[in-house]
Amino acid sequence: MDAARFGFLMILPALIMLLFIVIFPLLASIYLSLSKWSPLTGGGTRWFQAYQFWGWLSNYWNIIRDPDFLMALLRTFIIVIVVVPVEFFIGLVLAFLFRESFPGKKIFHSILLMPMMVVPAVAGFIFYMLFQGQGPVNEALSKLFFHEVSVLWLQGNISAMIAIMIADIWQWSPFMFLILLSGIMSLPEDQINAALILGASGWQRLRMVILPLMKPVIVISLIFRGMEAVKIFDSIWLMTSGGPGTATESISVYMYKHGFKYLKWSWVAAGGVIVLIIITLISMQALKPIKEREEQSA
């Protein structure tokens, strides 16, 4: 068998799976989104007859004027630009602390990695317990400030968002730590030592030598966390279900609610197409560094 054909055969199953799972749903999404069909109006599962409820771009036109949809997009965006830098910062501090050896390093390291292995839905449930009105968070704050603290975290618009962000930061800072630590450990020791001999202070070493050398790792970690954070659903669903009202709906929660509570399928299909377009535009930029790295090594 010649090489090209063999190579093609090797990737064939993956291609078929992709076509099966991506192309059809994408086309079906576009088809549905152009109609006004829903399981309620259109009779059960006869989605392919959606043409009887044709609506052209009305779903698109209506959804981009839906304040809930726009707020969900904005909120998802806010979550990403808050949690990712905070996680990065915590991860970086920890990674630096773990450069040197100290007693019990291995144990601390393992404990610090645990949160990222926790099933996200379980993490959501844990923080749901912690942030109860009579939960440990309020109790600990009361003890810390010698003053009775009884915030109803998950019932307030802003406090619920804070609680959700804290849960995410708890779960994913360890990821940043893991990535950045292995990035630091793979740095060439002699360059850092050279800077030390030249009399660079700790801060200068960090800013002028270590961070620039770590740039590829930092970029990848930020991209990866960013693209996973956009999908945030499990923890929000378990903690607040998007509430109070719609105050903590991320884009995934919004679509889940509209698709499975209100059964507005064609509406959600239109929302899905819009989200896919936005993500594709962002990811084409975001994936550039990975692409360049591949081309260099090829």
Binding site: A14, M114, P115, V122, M129, I251
Partner: protein, 284 residues
Amino acid sequence: MEQKPYEKVLKLLLIVVITLLFFFPIYWIVTMAFKPFPEWTAAGGKIYWFPNHPTIDNFRAIFSQKLEMSPISGTAIRPIFNSLVVSVIGTCIAMVVGVFAAYGISRYKAGGSLPFMLLQLRMFPPIAIIIPIMIMWAFLHMTDTWYGLSLIYGVVTLPFSVWLMKTFFDDIPRELDEAAIVDGCSNIGAFFKVVMPLAKGGIASSALFVFILNWSDFLIALILTDRKWTTIPVHISKLQSALVGALYGPKAALGLIALIPPVFFGILIQKYLVRGLTFGAIKK
């Protein structure tokens, strides 16, 4: 690097404080799982920082035929079994398809931009295309079945298995399989007899990694399963009672069970986690 003693102590103190903060939520779910009813219920208004009367009642409750405090019938045995079955089969699908594709990409540069299409796929929120998938699954009678859920898990984790295995194959000197082919081995023969034995460790750790991802899913199982094939996370979210509200104790007990495999495997393969989660940006 010379450091003053107080600096060292300060740093160690910082590490201890951060570690404790990060450990507390895990401590909370572990202790919650062993608290008796009066200690985990929120109604008392008193907080128990550790179980005063540790018990395994919560575990008994989730495994008993009908939860006394809950309208949910059925035990957690089925969801645990389901989670295991669909995660393992999903992992097998992703790994078999992924290993072949990764080899084709690594050695024959097949597929052009396929690796990036896979990354792109990973970025899409599943909810954006889940409705057509649900329609498709209903049409093929795959909703609420083990094969329906396993198949979608296999697809969702395919990007990871391909990228992980690709970096492993890139590390194996290509002269080895080229030499085998020159010696009269077929393409497939070189792959199975020369490369696969060398990649065993990589395959095992990638598989564990993919397993953790499948095991952790909540959203897809929530949508594509109904009664028979609900997984652990979905079962946890449904452990409610009209009388007491959220059943903290039993939920925590089942949550604890759900944590064991990923935490155990995760720490075992942490080196590979780095490569998997960065799509191979960090070599070794």
